[in-house]
């Protein structure tokens, strides 16, 4: 498998630090075979879950060795680049390719014909549009030409009549790139989601309360 971070099967799950099987053993024994869950068992379960949640973000980028499951190599490369223009790196976090956006879309295209048509056709349309307008496909066009088409497509809520043929594709690609980004470790870190762990009691930090109440009209 080219990408060690993504499993091929949708049911197989990889967890960092604590093996999921171990966790279930800890939790499951208490529930199903023992008379009571002891305080220690519950603690262990929580510690296991905390360990899972504490695992640091990792890249989901399939890298140069990634073998596409549906898209052709050129389309995959185009999609990676397009994704990085839609969600580029900034001072806080890396670009969409670090979130495995193209690989995510490629995987689902391999599982859903309707989606495959949207991306095969859309990427094809994009190259044809660029060739007609600039004499080069999207990847080989100049950076200013690449952003010029995105300005047309995403410049207003309805898009430009000039790029209307790609309208469905542009909506899908942005939606799925953004989806992929925030369902990846880099996206979760960027947005600052800090949960999916275990707490022994629930409380919120006073700092957050003070910040909001100072800004609130009530």
């Amino acid at each position: 498998m080219a990408n060690p971070e993504i499993s091929n099967s949708e049911v197989q799950v990889q967890t960092p630090d604590v093996s999921r099987r171990d966790l279930f053993r800890i939790v499951g024994t208490g529930l199903l075979s023992a008379e009571f869950v002891t305080a220690q068992q519950a603690k262990d379960a929580h510690a296991g879950m905390a360990g899972m949640a504490a695992a640091g973000p990792k890249s989901l980028n399939g890298g140069a060795l990634y073998v596409p499951k549906h898209l052709n190599a050129h389309h995959l490369k185009t999609l990676r680049h397009l994704g990085d223009l839609i969600m580029p790196a900034d001072a806080t976090s890396p670009a969409a390719s670090e979130a495995g956006a193209a690989e995510f879309i490629d995987f689902l295209c391999s599982r859903n014909e309707e989606l495959a048509v949207i991306f095969d056709g859309g990427l094809e349309w994009l190259d044809q549009f660029m060739k007609r307008k600039y004499g080069a496909d999207f990847l080989t066009a100049k950076p200013t030409e690449q952003t010029a088409v995105l300005d047309l497509a995403y410049g207003s809520r309805t898009g430009s009549p000039e790029t209307a043929g790609g309208a469905q594709f542009f909506t899908w690609v942005r939606n799925m790139v953004v989806d992929a980004y925030y369902t990846s470790p880099v996206g979760v870190k960027d947005i600052g989601y800090m949960g999916n762990g275990a707490m022994s009691t629930f409380s919120v930090p006073q700092e957050a309360v003070d910040y909001v109440m100072k800004r609130s009209p009530v």
């Binding site: 967890t15 939790v27 529930l31 839609i86 995510f104 689902l108 369902t183 910040y211």
Partner: protein, 567 residues
């Protein structure tokens, strides 16, 4: 299926359905030493396999869309992560709806039923909910009072574990509570707004364990109760009631068993249950002393209506003709708005328990001149939740493309606060289910046909909800997305809140009701119904806690009757 398999053994009690009502019956009867055989139409539940708790989206290739991109094409109503096994459309198990009516019938097909994923909001019905006719002349009085039901609420709460505080509010009777959970930041804002609007916002009453009880570990506040809980810290009938009952040696579970008919003897009493063994597509029959039907309100009505005999030509126990009648669901409407005070809030873990930490009980019970009867409660949503597919599409669409997408997502994350109204529907003559004689499901069982009409006051209630939610959002300085509002278009479809009740109602008069005050059929003393079908009304209190309390009471009564030799 010409060779029907019969077992010579006579079982003590056969329970049909393993959700809140069936699970409670199993627990109570096996605790009292009675042998129980439980029929469940779906498969067994294996929490460590079936519950997707604590999995990050990137740990599956499809990130939660479903293995074939289902969510992108509207084909996954509950999302990939949640625990239900069933939904409104069950392959091979259709139902019909009368022309011009709309109704959606949710079915759960797994051990534990809907309790594996439900919201776990646990509210007692109030004194006036049991005597609504006496209260305002509408609906039907129960043959039980709040005071009679209260001790069973105590038992249900103490066993399930329900958070809460003593507030002394008539519409929201206090119970035996575990400690409440501290409010999240946006919930504190809602509390402040409530103070200004003179609307109570109190700690929520939820069946999650803030302390370990009955061998179940305390909650670890991951907020993923809807996915199912490995530690059983969120109540389910499967983990909290049925698995422990197996250890008594008194329980036998038959999964993949779709009940087809209750068979009667010459006296018209139940002698056994006929079911389809789904795996082999064969009909099997088991004999029993008594049967407890808890298959969900409409499925229970269907089973009785499909059990016709010379003694019971209109269906089992249906001399009154009210089986299937007076079907209700909850009136639902929701609105959310972005609250700028929450923008760029310092990040922290605000998962908590799955769902709200505070809620609004009905606050205008004593107000005169309302244009709708009874009332509703409000459920609060919001916070810094785990990002999912779709979470930031709106922010991205506003931003266009480039660095502004991340900036917009950071700013908007956690700023939305949602309000969901859950109101009372008073039973009416035009909302009911009956057998559709023209159609069968894949097991050869005649299907249900639904009729559904709101009466009109429900849309007035929805208007009141909308106005209230707008007041809350604007008081917090928030923005309400769309001010053009049509209550008729905005009200939930019947069945979509999944609180069906009332199809096999109880009462003192056998001419107008099917069951007596112990949920035992007037005409068939060894038949008990133990889900929400016996309910004479459907207050704004969600059904599960009352299902558990009423089933507990019914099961203890059945056990006494069996002991006395009456059943």
């Amino acid at each position: 299926m010409f060779q029907v398999q019969r077992t010579p053994v006579v079982h003590d009690v056969v329970v049909v359905g393993s959700g809140a009502g069936g699970g409670t019956t199993v627990k109570v009867l096996t605790d009292l030493g009675i042998n129980v055989t439980l029929l469940e139409a779906g498969p067994n539940l294996v929490p460590e396999k079936d519950f997707k708790e604590h999995i990050w989206p990137w740990q599956v290739d499809h990130r939660g869309s479903g293995p074939n991109a289902e969510s992108y094409f509207g084909k996954q109503e509950w999302g990939y992560w949640n625990a239900p096994n069933g939904y409104w459309n069950v392959p091979g198990e259709p139902y019909t709806v009368a022309p011009g009516d709309e109704f959606r019938w949710f079915r759960s097909r797994i051990l534990g039923g809907r309790t594996n994923h439900y919201g776990r909001i646990s509210l007692r019905f109030s004194d006036y909910d049991f005597k609504p006719q006496a209260f305002d002349g509408l609906g039907f009085d129960w043959p039980v009072t709040y005071d009679e039901m209260s001790p069973w609420y105590d038992k249900a709460e103490e066993f399930m574990g329900v958070t809460g505080t003593h507030e002394g509010i008539r519409s929201a009777p206090d119970g035996k509570f575990l400690p409440p959970v501290a409010p999240r930041v946006h919930e504190m804002l809602v509390q402040r707004a409530g103070k200004k609007l003179n609307i109570p916002v109190i700690p929520s009453r939820m069946a999650m364990l803030t302390k370990g009880i009955h061998g179940r570990a305390a909650c670890h506040y991951c907020g993923q109760c809807g996915r199912g809980c490995q530690t059983a810290s969120a109540f389910t009938s499967s983990q909290a009631m049925i698995f422990p009952a197996l250890k008594t040696g008194k329980l036998k579970i038959i999964t993949g068993a779709m009940a087809r008919e209750l068979m009667v003897n010459d006296e018209g009493l139940v002698r056994g249950v006929s079911y389809i063994d789904k795996a082999t597509r064969t009909e099997k029959q088991i004999s029993c002393r008594a049967v407890v039907v808890a298959a969900s309100a409409c499925e229970s009505a269907r089973l009785l209506l499909n059990s016709k005999s010379t003694k019971h030509p209109n269906g089992l126990g249906n001399g009154s003709g009210v089986v299937g009648r007076y079907l209700t669901d909850t009136v639902g409407y929701g609105l959310s708005g972005a609250v700028p005070a929450l923008e760029n809030m310092p990040r922290h873990n605000c998962d908590g328990i799955g769902g709200m930490h505070v809620y609004v009980p009905w606050w205008e019970l004593d107000k005169k001149n309302k244009d709708f009867p009874r009332g509703y409660h409000i459920e609060i949503g919001g916070g810094l939740g785990m990002p999912q597919l779709g979470s930031f599409r709106g922010a991205a669409a506003q931003a266009g493309y480039g660095p502004s997408i991340k900036a917009a997502a950071r700013q908007q994350y956690g700023t939305n606060i949602s309000f969901s109204g859950r109101g009372e529907m008073i039973p009416n003559e035009n909302s009911y289910c009956e057998i559709d004689n023209t159609k069968v499901d894949q097991w050869g069982i005649p299907v249900l046909k639904f009729h559904w009409k709101w009466q009109g006051y429900e849309t007035k209630m929805v208007q009141h909800m909308h106005d209230t939610f707008v007041s809350f959002i604007e008081t917090m300085g928030g923005r309400v997305p769309n001010r053009t509002f049509d209550p008729v278009a905005s009200i939930s479809k019947g069945g979509s809140i999944i609180h069906e009740a009332g199809t096999v109602r109880m009462g003192d008069d056998p001419k107008k009701s099917v069951l007596n005050k112990w949920s035992q059929a007037h005409e068939v003393k060894n038949l008990v119904v133990a889900d929400a079908a016996p309910f004479n009304g459907n207050p704004d209190k969600n059904v599960t806690l009352t299902i558990v309390a009423n089933a507990w009471r019914a099961a203890e009564h059945l056990a006494e009757e069996m002991k006395k030799g009456n059943v």
